[in-house]
Symmetry: C2
Subunit: 320 residues, 2 copies
């Protein structure tokens, strides 16, 4: 494979000049520039990325702190990150934490010792000041709504999204509304719970504690929800489900038990997972793929702190 030296020799210039052409620096006469370009063409020259990054002091590694990867929310996020990482010729270093704060610190230490170029924290476990301490060592991005001077962020308006979902169900005539959620606590869960109560408040409706189904992560959980639903004396007429995977389980189980969707039970999912399309589930699309990509873009940007917020969009299908 031809290298920069070969090109320089062929074009009768120094390697510095070739490097200048390669990097679009000024201070190269057209004459030499053209000679270099010709030489590159003739020799089938391609830059050696390893040499570039070695020279520039980059590791080409990007740390990703993530609690687990087998949940649709995180797997969609990870998909987006992978895609962008591939695009930017970076390798993701997955640090699965299971919400263990010490594991997260290990990842931060990797940044300190320059073992990674940047760090994405998909779900934070440590307190804010611990994280901020490490920003001196490289770019850090969190996936939550936080306007820090030193840490970039990419977030989704979870409150608004949930509120919008509630409004949609209410508009369709529902008053007895329940919801399914993953963790009971956590920033996002709290926001959603708040949105739930606020929305019900606008129509003076109340809710029962057992209309709130927690620990809903998988298709199986959705099936379980239907089972519990059937044993209720007073049943909700609609469910807001924070994961399409769970919504899919619910819809399938309803079919088995001859519960009419949406007449008897309306279902509104989240994420717009391919499953939702297949099962004709109405859903609120969260641009998780986009968020993932933006996380990587932000983490690879060493110059500025970026704050991005993403919206959502309601996709009406046949389950509401």
């Amino acid at each position: 494979m031809a290298n920069i030296k070969d090109v320089a020799r062929y074009a009768n210039v120094s390697v510095t000049t070739v490097s200048r052409v390669l990097n679009g620096h000024p201070y190269v006469t057209n004459e030499k520039r053209e000679a270099v370009e010709e030489a590159m063409e003739a020799l089938h020259y391609r830059q050696n990325m390893n040499a570039i990054h070695l020279s520039k002091g980059k590791t080409r590694l990007l740390g990703v702190v993530i609690p687990f990867v087998d949940h649709p929310y995180f797997s969609l996020l990870l998909n987006g990150m992978s895609k962008e990482a591939l695009h930017q010729e970076h390798t993701l270093v997955l640090i699965q934490t299971n919400y263990d704060a010490m594991k997260e610190v290990e990842a931060l230490e990797m940044l300190k010792y320059k073992q990674i170029d940047g760090l994405v924290i998909a779900s934070r476990s440590n307190t804010w000041d611990v994280v901020e301490e490490y920003t001196a060592f490289g770019p850090i991005v969190v996936c939550e709504d936080r306007s820090s001077e030193v840490v970039s962020s990419v977030s989704i308006r979870h409150y608004d999204a949930f509120y919008e979902g509630m409004k949609h169900l209410i508009k369709k005539g529902h008053q007895k509304i329940g919801f399914c959620i993953g963790r009971k606590t956590g920033t996002n869960s709290n926001l959603r719970y708040q949105a739930y109560r606020d929305a019900l408040h606008t129509i003076q409706a109340t809710y029962k504690e057992d209309w709130i189904f927690t620990n809903c992560l998988s298709i199986e959980d959705g099936e379980r929800v239907v089972e519990e639903y059937q044993s209720l004396v007073e049943k909700p007429t609609a469910l807001l489900v924070t994961s399409d995977q769970v919504a899919a389980g619910i819809r399938m189980e309803c079919q088995k038990r001859n519960i009419d969707v949406p007449e008897e039970l309306a279902i509104l999912g989240f994420d717009n997972h391919p499953l939702a399309r297949a099962l004709d589930l109405s859903t609120i699309e969260l641009p998780l793929h986009e968020v993932g990509r933006k996380l990587v873009i932000s983490a690879l940007n060493d110059n500025e702190t970026i704050h991005t917020q993403y919206g959502f969009s309601l996709i009406e299908r046949g389950s509401v």
Copy 2:
């Protein structure tokens, strides 16, 4: 970040000795080995991958020739490849060919000019001798059943898988069986067609031309199939569908049109895509994810030619 020089200085040895310890070479006394290990610990030393690969002359890039990525077969394959590439700290260079032979040659030329470390051809367009010419320049792996001396291969027993599917339908009492397939021609399609006829032959059954649905790639295609199916005078009682995505479309459309599955029409899919699990579709699982990983592993192995064949497994659910 500490480098090999720092470690050498700290341990009072030469960089060569540190490199020997790092790479497990013999000819290092225990005394020095321990000193080096201590130094690495003390200095938080991590090897710089860019320097290693630059030194070893690797690009850390792996070419992937693929006709398109939006088809479930290829996207599952690609998923597996991505995962393994990530694992092995390599970046995939996607060369989407749309079955254009010239594009494929471009990819082979990249190998020639050492722009990539190896090449995976997920679906070949050029003749065999064209491909073999390039093996001198680096490892090439194809995804088809071919026992070459110089090109590695990873394949699935498509004939057997299809035949097994037919046998299953026959065992369930079906005689009038149709099938859905992507391309009408191609190595795999031919194998499947052969298996179809061979299986029908064992029960002296015949088939109608219009029980064979071609161009079946997406959910929409599945919906189209049902439409065509309903207009048939003599209808098959079972369909073997070479993609779960299509099978999902069929099942959903059947539901809309009140065609009972499996009583009126049995459906047996392929791939064991998550969709199949969600829609309770019987399917023949092809280990595409594993195949993808093995493709990458084989392509990154420069020393030997590897031939791997994968089987399949029938997953019985409620659609047959």
